[in-house]
Amino acid sequence: MIPFRRALAAVAVVVPAAFLGIFFLYPVGSILVRGLGADGLNRLVELPGRSSFRGVAWFTLWQAVASTVLTVAVALPGAHLLARRRFRGRSLLRAAATVPFVLPTVVVGGAFLALFERLGLNDGPLRLTRTAGAILAAHVFFNVAVVLRTVGTFWEGLDPRVVEQARVLGASPAQAFRWVTWPRLWPAVAAASSIVFLFCFTSFGVVLVLGGPTRATLETEVWRHAVFRGDLASATALALVQLAAVVAMVVVTNRLQRRRAVAQRVVRRVPPLRASGRLLAANLALLGVVLGLPIAVLVERSLTRGRSGGGWGGFTLDHYGALADRLSLLPLSALGALRNSLVFAVVAAGLAVVVGGLASVVVVHGRRTLARAFDLGMMLPLGASAVTVGFGMLIALSEAPLDFRSSRWLVPVAHALIGVPFVMRVVVPTLRGIDVRLREAAATLGATPARVRREIDLPIAARALAVGAGFSFAVSLGEFGATSFLPRHPDRLTAPLALFRLLSQPGDALRGQAMALAVVLMLVTALSVLAIEGWGRRGTVRGDL
């Protein structure tokens, strides 16, 4: 019995460690070695002197700050509505607002392109296409869910009676917010902001699709140098700057997160107030415009012919039919790319469940230092941005001793790296949250320790694993950043890559087909997440993205 359990424990440690080591730490190490070697260091030192670099760095920074401020401004009233008011369709709104966050970045880029074209903002004095404004709008669209969920959930947990008490003591609603709600709420807002900032700072697909060549961030510049120009040395130097910035941000974020642990007492939930009609309407209108309009236009555009002379082209299903056609632009049909994506997503989800599940067991039951190391280490690929993952794999795993260039499975492996943190975010809290009293009750009823594990722990953990698998599946379906670095091969073309190529070409037929592909991708992703979410919430699964 003991040797078997030891072996099992060893497997639980070795498999995730090896996976992370080979596919993430070794590639990142390669970036460091190349970038800090004599040759790379020269390149790094001359970077600040280049005005193009200064422009890119400055833009990366200010667009991230502006996106974050805008996102919080748009989401905060909605968070209040969800946390404190009672109205019909509340849970529906919460779920719907989450959808943008899980959509593939390229789909969002496509949706905004379609929106600007429909509103006539792609040309003329009010042009938004290829401007910073377009990028900011898409970032707000994406990240509203982050603020809604983290701040909204935290807000809901704050005892409403404390605010009521302030009101009874004579505080106006504004005073009560400033003196009572805000001091308790701001750590959550700060934490959510730092996450949003990190996402916007490392945003790739959105910037690539909406920014065009003139609006580049560090992330897209790495890609342009590495994939487009084949200038690996410059790309390495840029990737190093990016990595350093991200690490600094993660450290700051963690500090903020720790502060968040203000003494909280979770109380019996008092039914929130009924929302007044005006408040509800204003909020829904804001969220509707920001979140609903791009998606609505995307769907509409996929079902209509373009307007050549400004008129409505009429309803059509041709664009969907054309998804099966071969185009000279792509090595295989859009449908073929979608098939690739589905296969990769299934494999990636499977890998993520195995690696993430084992790592979760170590985090929950392992020795302290080991648990800490796993908890932090397995999260790294998510924080380190797609470029670090993809570019690292590009330079490290295409030459001896680890040459995986010819393997198509490098794609799902990269996706699994990003999926593992999602699995762990769900599984670890669930394992930790299994009520000790359940085990004790089972034991007093005569169950052996093995029986307790089988009857109590396993069923609960299985549900969490399934939820985690669903999330990794969705993440893999939409993954664009890391995949775009991996060696190109027809049998590795994924749906987001195909969509990106379709979007970068002009012409009505291609645009329509791109929109149709975007809609299909969006539906598959959104439905899988919503289904998993709905199912998982019914059980005892804890944790959140």
Binding site: G170, P173, W179
Partner: protein
């Protein structure tokens, strides 16, 4: 000076005079807290009005009403110390720092927490936290103080002590107070008048003696702690004899019952004994009817199995409506 209202719950009409403590008594979920929240303006009544001194407050926002409300679980501001909590209402009112400190000290002294100003609220015991919550409401000098089961989360002995202190304090300050509880002992200890709530309306209202002597309804009798409710048959009879003119339920007031020697009153057998607040209670059986009777042990004790006589005073039987 009067406050009256008929909010949320249907047909609730209640008046509180200055210096009067009215206790709303009822089981959980009967709408007591909703009533308080409506009076405070935290809940908007669908119909009905809240009046103060003839002025209609129904549409006035909470913070302008000048009422105080103490919640069961204190609802202290976790990010402020004790002084910061107690001073909150004064700060909102724009009082200068010096005057604030003075009032805070006075309020804390009222509840017996002198010198607690600098304490963090998460270091307080349950009883201390509740006193801070009370001091916070008192410091704002409310024209009506409402207490929503303020002692409900405390253990029994502490609750009894604080109930007594609270009663003294409310009398001393001469505030109009509306107190909500499900505990009849607490109600009797505090109230000038008791309003028994059931199913969204007031079943019975009156001074403690009035409602005890004649609860009016079965529900009110149970809420007030009466135990001897006896069903009568069509002829108004039960094991004790004919107690009414028809079918229904009557109350046997335990304060008009006593245990006598065999042969006195109705013959009965002691089935069990118990103690309530130290006083012995005999559970006597008359036929198959069990009646609980207080025993005065200074006269004579009883033991299980003893044959006794159940003596009923002339006002022991009170008819109830369902």
């Amino acid at each position: 000076m009067a406050f009256d209202g008929e909010p949320v719950l249907s047909g609730v009409d209640l008046m509180v005079a200055r210096g009067e403590v009215v206790v709303l008594l009822g089981p959980s979920g009967c709408g007591k807290s909703t009533l308080l929240r409506a009076v405070a303006g935290l809940e908007q009544p669908l119909a009905g009005r809240v009046l103060w001194d003839g002025e209609d407050l129904t549409d006035m926002p909470t913070h302008q009403r000048g009422f105080g409300l103490v919640f069961q679980d204190h609802a202290l501001f976790g990010h402020r110390d004790v002084a910061g909590n107690v001073a909150f209402g004064l700060r909102v009112a724009g009082l200068a720092a010096e005057a604030r400190a003075h009032r805070v000290a006075r309020s804390l002294a009222l509840v017996g927490l002198e010198g607690f100003e600098g304490r963090r609220v998460d270091t307080l015991s349950g009883g201390e936290a509740q006193r801070v919550a009370l001091a916070r409401s008192l410091a704002a000098a409310p024209r009506l103080l409402m207490l929503d089961e303020p002692l409900g989360s405390l253990d029994r002995s502490l609750r009894e002590r604080l109930t007594a202190e609270l009663g003294v304090l409310l009398r001393r300050l001469g505030l109009a107070a509306l107190h909500v509880t499900h505990d009849h002992d607490e109600a009797f200890a505090l109230a000038d008048r008791i309003a028994v709530l059931g199913a969204g309306r007031i079943d019975r209202i009156g001074t403690p003696d009035e409602v005890w002597d004649d609860p009016g309804t079965v529900h009110a009798a149970r809420c007030l702690g009466h135990e001897n409710l006896v069903g009568l048959d069509d002829a108004g009879r039960c094991a004790l004899g004919r107690l009414g003119s028809g079918p229904g339920i009557v109350l046997l007031r335990s304060d008009s019952l006593s245990v006598g020697a065999p042969g006195e009153g109705v013959s009965a057998v002691v089935a069990a004994t118990s103690r309530r607040s130290g006083r012995m209670v005999a559970h006597v059986l008359v036929g198959d009817l069990e009646v609980r009777v207080p025993v005065d042990e200074s006269i004579h004790g009883v033991r299980v199995g003893d044959p006794v006589g159940l003596v009923m005073g002339h006002d022991a039987v009170v008819p109830l409506s369902s």
